[in-house]
Symmetry: C3
Subunit: 249 residues, 3 copies
């Protein structure tokens, strides 16, 4: 274990033997951190909160939490969580393996997030958002939940597997984004988007099948489904499965 | 008083007896903090600045400043200020009681803010913005001030009482948003919005009276004015007054 | 040299004699900081990274890095860099003199930035962005780079000298913004913008020459080129050159 001498780690926190904690970071008592995980400087993990359910903040093996990040208690993350800097995660969030949270992203809590989901910088996730596996979310995307703010009604967004939501798009309350769908940049998504459909604009409108978008590399190949040409950062067994789909369509 | 041993608090700062200051936080000399206020970790309060007027940063009783927040000198906040994480507030801002500033919000200074105003995460407030009482501002809203940037001309936005400005909307310089008005998500508000009117779009256009929006709870009731169905977090006397308006319209 | 006793500064870092480093800040070994530079509190400079090229983080003379900022190794900044709070700068970025980076801005690395470029708060700069001299970028502007996300293809944006990009605008991959061009607020810039042209909207469309915009100060003068009426913060020799252009057009 490598706890920097300036870090403040509660004796009640359960840290695996080889966890690293950087300078000026704070780990509260209601925290469990898996093997090989590295916590950067100036973080605060397991912030106590009356909005939690008493369960610990659990962070899986092999994770990296970058500096100035804040996680509350009562959330659970699978193996290989990776964050940028200054990430905020509130209570009651669950995420699968390989979750990537970009710098400045803000997860409001009570969210469910699948496996190998990737958020770029500055993504804002309202409460009760549901995100399935292998979804990509780009900078300044906002998932909302209140259909007539302010109110006590919350209608979380649902994003299905392999969807990609481009920069500066907002998804309105209760909207369902289909599997493998693409939301173009700067869109306001006010209604459901079908599987493998493109939606763009403010308000967003349907622009056809994702299969019509060609890769801008001169190959003439399709840009979507993206899993057939982009696999950086995914585990080998996942990539092998994707590639075998191409060979055996 | 509960000052964490790692915190750096100037002997000149005036802190009430029961103020708490968290680890790795800094309180400069030109600061006055009221009774019962809690300062989280990694904050810096009362940053000295030539752009202030020499007056202290004053934070009212019963406030909560969450971690990694930065406040400059020469601003004043009434009782029960509550902030998220990583809030920035520059010089010469005044706010009434019950001001709530969400995580990552950035107040550029020289602003006037009324009573019980609530900012969600990541709100950006340009200099010379004027916000009246009971206003709601949602994530990624920007209040601008320069009609032809860059220039030395500043035309601050004015938002009247009970208005609600939904996610990812930008209010252009000098615009006045009427009492109880609703700005829909992803709007660019280029001209004044009347009292109790809805404006949506880029550029925003008038969409009628807010009274036509029904609550999505099956009750058939109006969603606006929101004060008749939403009152979480407001003081009892305020809520009582709102409810009596319904009984005695 | 004025290193706060709580700061952690590597013995390998090369700091000029009069550098100041604030409380709870970290300076790693692969860092060179010029004369008169002031580092605020809670910063981390020279973060080691396998994505760098081994070269140091170099920060020029007379710079100011405000609190909670993070800079990786292998970037270079000329004299008089000034940052707001919580700035992030990744590897392999080069910027000329007088670069100003606003609070919460996030530079993803592999960018080239000219002289006296000014970013307001919360600007997001994708990899391979190229920004020429005297450019202004306002809050929540995003420079993208991936034409069909996610993919391995990066088409960086290019912004030519004296252009101004207003609040909440997104520039799509590979777009070139002309010299002295003005992008209005809340625009999605999907195609190139000519020199001294105005583009506004989602998607942005051409709205004529910038010369038609008058200053809202009653003078009847043109608002663009802005350098003829706005020169706060530029060095004297630059301002003198601009003013002589007016006298000798």
């Amino acid at each position: 274990m490598s706890i920097h001498p300036t870090a403040i780690v509660s004796h009640e926190a359960k840290l695996s033997d080889d966890v690293e904690v950087g300078p000026f970071s704070i780990v509260h008592g209601n925290v469990e951190i898996g093997s090989g995980t590295k916590i950067g400087s100036n973080c605060e993990l397991g912030v106590p909160s009356p909005l939690g359910n008493g369960s610990p903040l659990r962070i899986g093996d092999g994770s990296t939490i970058r500096s100035h990040s804040v996680f509350y208690e009562s959330s659970f993350f699978g193996q290989n969580l990776t964050t940028g800097h200054r990430v905020t995660v509130r209570e009651m969030t669950q995420a699968g393996r390989g979750f990537q949270i970009g710098t400045l992203s803000d997860i409001q809590g009570h969210c469910k997030i699948g496996e190998y989901v990737k958020f770029h910088s500055n993504v804002h996730v309202g409460q009760h958002t549901l995100i399935e596996d292998y979804v990509w979310v780009f900078p300044y995307v906002v998932f909302t939940n209140d259909p007539h703010p302010p109110s006590n009604i919350m209608q979380g967004v649902r994003v299905k597997s392999f969807a990609a939501i481009a920069t500066m798009s907002t998804v309105l309350p209760g909207v369902i984004i289909g599997e493998g769908a693409l939301i173009g940049a700067c869109s306001a998504v006010t209604k459901d988007v079908g599987d493998h459909r493109i939606a763009v604009g403010n308000p967003a409108s349907d622009r056809g099948e994702t299969s019509k978008i060609k890769l801008k590399d001169g190959s003439g190949k399709q840009a979507y489904p993206w899993k057939y040409h982009f696999n950086r950062g995914y585990p080998e067994e996942v990539v092998t499965a994707w590639l075998s789909e191409i060979s055996n369509p």
